[in-house]
């Protein structure tokens, strides 16, 4: 059975607007992403790589100074990037929901959790306060919280983990088809983070929604997602099934990211491999990673970064080769060569 994609982003570009109204600088360029129901898609990248801007663009919550210049976003087959604000609002919460990184920031500190939950429900559907309360409590229970107590609590009376569970409940309770989890565990300790992600995966299986997990924690993305994409400098570097990306990274940046990660098993090396250089600015021309790339060629600086595309697993590198061909391998084979470049 072929399912229709929940979210289809094609050629999405987001740019910064000047006071005069002209576009100054691209922050995100040419993003393609497709999410199917029940799928968890990981989006990794350094801070400032454009992950969160992509998420905001989907939600229609880009700050006033940013705007979509190109491309389209389809949610369940409907184009949503050009919808008026009111129509977008009706989609938010109901069709697509978001879990944010900052656990304290998801709920206003001076209003009770219950009020904020029922308010969101009632914003979308006409229902009595009692009904709204019942639904909210039901979902608070599903995320394994003492529902009544949390319902009547203020956000500051809950722990970070409890709050993140609450926002999980808040995002799931209207059974949206898409959930964007924007670094949902960054502010939490490791154990709590694992519990939250377990809950998310569990509930996702039940509701069959698609999840876009944005994270800079490569480990949990590798462990939990079905597919993953890697962003750098506003561009998509690589995209494919998680297992395939892990086993056979195509893009030099992905390769280096995977190397920079402490191994899941075995011994901790004395030093983790670091990616040299500073995270780059968004390049309008050429590959954004080129300045830091050890395999850089002349063409990388000038040619637009749109490289090899295999059916399922694609990379933006001009020289990437799924078959393990010569270009990168040739450079990578020479360890001394790398040493030189890295220094």
């Amino acid at each position: 059975m072929i399912k229709n994609p929940v979210l289809q982003i094609s050629g999405l570009s987001v740019a910064l607007r000047a006071h005069s109204g002209s576009w100054i600088r691209h922050l995100v360029q040419g993003i393609n992403l497709t999410l199917y129901p029940g799928e968890m898609h990981g989006l990794v990248g350094e801070s400032g790589s454009g992950k969160s801007i992509t998420a905001s663009a989907v939600l229609g919550l880009l700050p006033g100074s940013l705007g979509i210049t190109e491309g389209e976003i389809l949610l369940n087959g409907k184009a949503i990037h050009r919808l008026p604000e009111k129509a977008k609002r009706r989609l938010r919460g109901r069709e697509m929901a978001c879990i944010f990184q900052n656990d304290q920031g998801s709920f206003a500190p001076f209003r009770k959790i219950g009020k904020q939950l029922t308010e969101a429900l009632q914003a979308h559907e006409k229902m009595s306060s009692r009904e709204a309360r019942e639904i909210s409590c039901e979902w608070l229970e599903r995320v394994k919280l003492p529902a009544q107590r949390v319902f009547d609590s203020y956000p500051f009376q809950l722990s970070g983990g409890q709050l993140q569970r609450t926002s999980l409940a808040a995002s799931l309770m209207m059974k949206p088809s898409l959930i964007i989890a924007d670094e949902p565990t960054t502010a939490l300790d490791v154990l709590t983070a694992e519990q939250i992600l377990d809950l998310l995966s569990g509930l996702q299986k039940k509701t069959e929604c698609a999840v876009l997990l944005i994270s800079h924690d490569l480990t949990s993305v590798l462990k939990r997602t079905d597919r993953m994409s890697v962003m750098y400098g506003g561009h998509l570097m690589e995209s494919g099934p998680t297992a395939s990306v892990r086993r056979n990274p195509l893009h030099p940046y992905t390769k280096m990211l995977l190397k920079a990660r402490p191994p899941l098993d075995g011994f901790m090396p004395d030093r983790l491999a670091a990616i040299p250089g500073e995270p780059g600015a968004v390049a309008d021309q050429g590959c954004p990673f080129a300045p830091r790339c050890p395999y850089r060629k002349e063409a990388c600086v000038h040619m637009p970064a749109s490289g090899v595309r295999a059916d399922d697993h694609s990379s933006a590198c001009l020289f990437a080769d799924p078959e393990g061909g010569d270009s990168i391998a040739a450079v990578a084979r020479s360890d001394q060569d790398r040493e030189v470049v890295w220094r």
């Binding site: 939600l59 919550l61 604000e85 609002r89 009706r90 989609l91 938010r92 919460g93 109901r94 929901a97 978001c98 944010f100 900052n102 920031g105 998801s106 709920f107 206003a108 500190p109 001076f110 209003r111 904020q116 308010e119 969101a120 914003a123 979308h124 203020y154 500051f156 009376q157 926002s167 808040a170 995002s171």
Partner: protein, 314 residues
């Protein structure tokens, strides 16, 4: 909760004690002899005997501490003494004037709200556009214009030239327009700015974005989230503005011949009617402390973090 209330109550008593002691001392230090001035105003030939009799009647022959004690005992029973000029009990005089002043200050607060809320909101929703600039200019003017001068200009323009509103005394709605606007304008200008800053700050908070992501409507976000958060600085400032409001009322009442407490106290000052002045000062002090108590309490209603002892305390 109880502790805060108790602390405020203690402050109330302490302040009233301080005020009473201060006004009593000042009254005794005051130049001139009230007995003589009293007798002089009666336009009768006075004798030593008359003077001694009045002195005794007013209790001025007793030692000062006893006088204070007796006076204080009276104050406790809400007996503020009698006006030197009219002989009426001070409390009665004040009670008859209070509603008139309350009407003026209430109207001024209404004017303030009518200007502050739309202007502050518009400025916050359109930062850098014309409502914002208007708000900025008004705030600067509002903090710089002398209230009595604004009142005079209004009288000249609207009452004398255009003959739209009456400039004197108390009457119906039309009598209230100019005095209330005069008193409310400076507050409105400053508070509009305060509201604008508060709204801008709260609108940039993450929880607003989260609420938007849940699909909550902009109207609900503005009224139940942003306004609520912006209320804190506004309410805090209000506790400080109450003094301005009461002082401004004196000026405005004089300017527009508004027969309230302010007019009463001005008459009392020029007539050396010490008990009335004293009553006014005590009453005003009590009002200021009470308003601050209310501000404290509403603070706790607005921000539950204070109620539960988290975050910063009032």
């Amino acid at each position: 909760m109880v502790i805060i209330l108790g602390k405020r109550l203690f402050q109330l008593i302490f302040v009233l004690f301080l005020l009473s002691a201060a006004t009593f001392t000042m009254m005794k230090l005051a130049p001139g002899d009230p007995v003589r001035s009293l007798l002089r105003t009666d336009e009768f030939l006075t004798t030593q005997a008359d003077e001694a009799k009045l002195r005794k009647e007013l209790g001025f022959d007793l030692p000062i501490v006893v006088q204070y004690g007796e006076w204080m005992a009276g104050v406790m029973q809400l007996d503020l003494g009698k006006s030197y000029l009219t002989g009426k009990p001070v409390l009665d005089v004040m009670a008859s004037r209070l509603p008139i002043t309350a009407q003026l200050t209430g109207g001024a607060l209404l004017v303030m709200l009518l200007i502050t809320v739309p202007l502050g909101t518009a400025a916050a929703l359109m930062p850098g556009r014309w409502p914002d600039h208007l708000g900025r200019a008004l705030a600067l003017i509002g903090a710089s214009v002398p209230g009595f001068w604004l009142g005079l200009l209004l009288i000249y323009g609207f009452s004398y030239k255009l003959q739209l509103f009456p400039s004197m005394g108390k009457g119906g709605f039309f009598h209230m327009v100019l005095p209330c606007f005069t008193l409310g304008f400076s507050l409105a200008a400053v508070y509009a700015r305060l509201l604008r800053n508060g709204l801008l700050e709260s609108l940039s908070q993450h929880y607003i974005r989260a609420a938007r992501a849940r699909g909550v409507s902009e109207r609900v976000i503005l009224t139940r989230y942003a306004f609520r958060a912006a209320l804190l600085p506004v309410v805090t400032m209000f506790g400080m503005s109450i003094g301005y409001l009461l002082g401004g009322a004196v000026v405005v009442e004089t300017l527009f011949s508004w027969p309230g407490l302010g007019n009463m106290v001005m008459d009392a000052i020029f007539g050396r009617d010490y008990p009335v002045i004293q009553g006014y000062v005590l009453f005003t002090g009590a009002v200021v402390v009470m308003i601050n108590l209310i501000v404290d309490l509403s603070y706790r209603a607005i921000d539950p973090r204070i109620r539960f002892g988290k975050g910063e305390s009032a």
